[in-house]
């Protein structure tokens, strides 16, 4: 379970997040939508502990992720962002094994091989990352995020570059994750697909939370129109 309250983040004069609060409970998948530049990726990074908010706090399982507790709580998180968070010169297997070892996973090599098989990248185990296609790299990035079986997933546009089959496999994986009691925050531009998977949705515009509600019954087209309209309104 992860929650944030009063998150403020500025980059110089640009205020990316203004007083954002949200909560993702165990067994819940929350979809985060919003126009470009709304601050979705910044929010995801603040929740992951990669970006330090100027104000506000992030709690993981009720505890503030600070000081001595920080490392332990970080192990509960899995994050996938815009970069693959991998090394070009290492093979897929070496990349996964390294992160597995770093996260304290016992028998990292085995885990790496198992993940490669699960995500459909077995024959490529020995190839350096550079030689892999964009879609394969993305699948590997997701595998890395899941290498230590985290309970809380923060995924920033995870389906980018994935073919329909791989995107479908990701959906199934997230469903299974939810059934086991895990939770996830899913940043997405694919409203219909995300709404099918998620329990709730939240809309972020210009650093503030606007619309939010249950995913069931939400109309993707209307939703999209509303938050595009919301941006135009603010500029007026």
């Amino acid at each position: 379970m992860i929650e944030a309250a009063g998150i403020e983040k500025s980059f110089g004069p640009v205020r990316a997040l203004r007083g954002v609060a949200l909560r993702v409970a165990a067994g819940e998948i929350v979809a985060l939508f919003g126009p470009n530049g709304a601050g979705k990726s910044t929010l995801a990074r603040c929740l992951a502990g990669l970006s330090r908010p100027d104000a506000g706090e992030v709690r993981i399982d009720g505890e503030r992720a600070r000081g001595a507790a920080a490392a332990r709580l970080r192990s509960r998180l899995g994050y996938a962002g815009h970069g693959a968070l991998l090394y070009d010169h290492l093979s897929a297997e070496e990349n996964l094994a390294f992160f597995a070892a770093l996260h304290g996973v016992p028998r990292p090599q085995e885990r790496a091989r198992a993940l490669l098989e699960e995500f459909g990248i077995p024959g490529r185990a020995g190839d350096a990352l550079r030689g892999l296609s964009r879609g394969t790299q993305q699948r590997l990035a997701l595998a890395r995020a899941l290498v230590h079986e985290p309970a809380i997933l923060l995924l920033d546009e995870p389906a980018t570059g994935l073919d329909p089959a791989a995107a479908g496999a990701l959906h199934d994986r997230l469903n299974a994750h939810r059934q086991k009691g895990g939770c996830a925050l899913l940043v997405s531009h694919d409203l219909p697909a995300a709404l099918t998977l998620a329990d709730r949705y939240i809309v972020l515009t210009s650093g503030r939370i606007g619309d939010q509600g249950p995913a069931a019954g939400a109309d993707p087209a209307a939703l999209a129109a509303r938050f595009s309209g919301a941006t135009a309104g603010a500029r007026a």
Binding site: A71, R74, G83, L86
Partner: protein, 228 residues
């Protein structure tokens, strides 16, 4: 996971990348060589042949090492920037200082490998017999290389975050590494002249203290450096 184990994993990963397809060592070697010959041309044939090795080798060697190692420090951090892999390291449940220590260890290995080639070659081209003084010389090299890497790894991280700061690295390294450079010059000179290291005890201790202080400060200051 203990900080040392995490640092070991990170260092091993860095060295694996370097072996696999990195060009840091080659670039460092090339720059070191270029520096040596820049000295050769500007000092002129007479100086190069007549000036005693203990006067000539320390400045040429340590200048070449200082600038060459900067390349190594920069490269070490460039890998982390490519696919935002540094975030991957920061997400791991390890002390962020382990990242610094791991990178420091890897950088030190590269610098020592460079020295293993550069120093014997210097002995040959400067006409100095290094075998009888191999012991003290190695000690001097180890101590001062560590100090250089401790400062350089930290600054490499800072410069890497800045993006445009390639040349800033050289400007910033010099002030921070000054005690190391002064001490390295004096100790290397003493070793080459065949004098016992006890004579330059003060400088060795200074270099050791500086290395310890820089490491301690870097470990503490590393977290704010990595922040976004």
């Amino acid at each position: 996971m203990s900080m040392l184990r995490a640092a070991y994993l990170i260092a091993r990963k860095d060295l694996r990348i370097e072996v696999r397809g990195g060009d840091a060592l080659a670039l460092m070697g090339a720059l070191a060589l270029a520096t040596v010959f820049a000295f050769a041309f500007t000092l002129g044939e007479r100086t190069m042949n007549t000036l005693a090795p203990e006067r000539l080798i320390p400045p040429v060697l340590w200048t070449a090492l200082a600038f060459a190692s900067l390349v190594g420090f920069r490269q070490g951090w460039a890998h982390e920037a490519e696919h935002d892999a540094l975030s991957g390291l920061r997400l791991a449940p390890v002390d962020r200082s382990a990242i610094y220590l791991g990178k420091l260890a890897a950088a030190l290995v590269l610098v020592l490998v460079l020295e293993a080639i550069l120093v014997p070659v210097s002995g040959v081209i400067f006409g100095a017999d290094l075998i009888p003084i191999a012991g003290p010389l190695t000690l001097v090299l180890l101590l001062h290389s560590y100090g250089l890497c401790a400062a350089g790894t930290f600054l490499g991280a800072l410069v890497n975050r800045l993006g445009r700061g390639e040349s800033l690295a050289a400007i910033l390294l010099l002030p921070v590494a000054v005690p190391i450079l002064i001490s390295a010059g004096k100790c290397t000179s003493a070793a080459l002249a065949g004098r016992p290291l006890g004579e330059v005890r003060f400088w060795m201790v200074l270099a050791g203290c500086f290395a310890a202080v820089i490491t301690a400060l870097a470990v503490v200051l590393f977290e704010p450096l990595l922040e976004e």
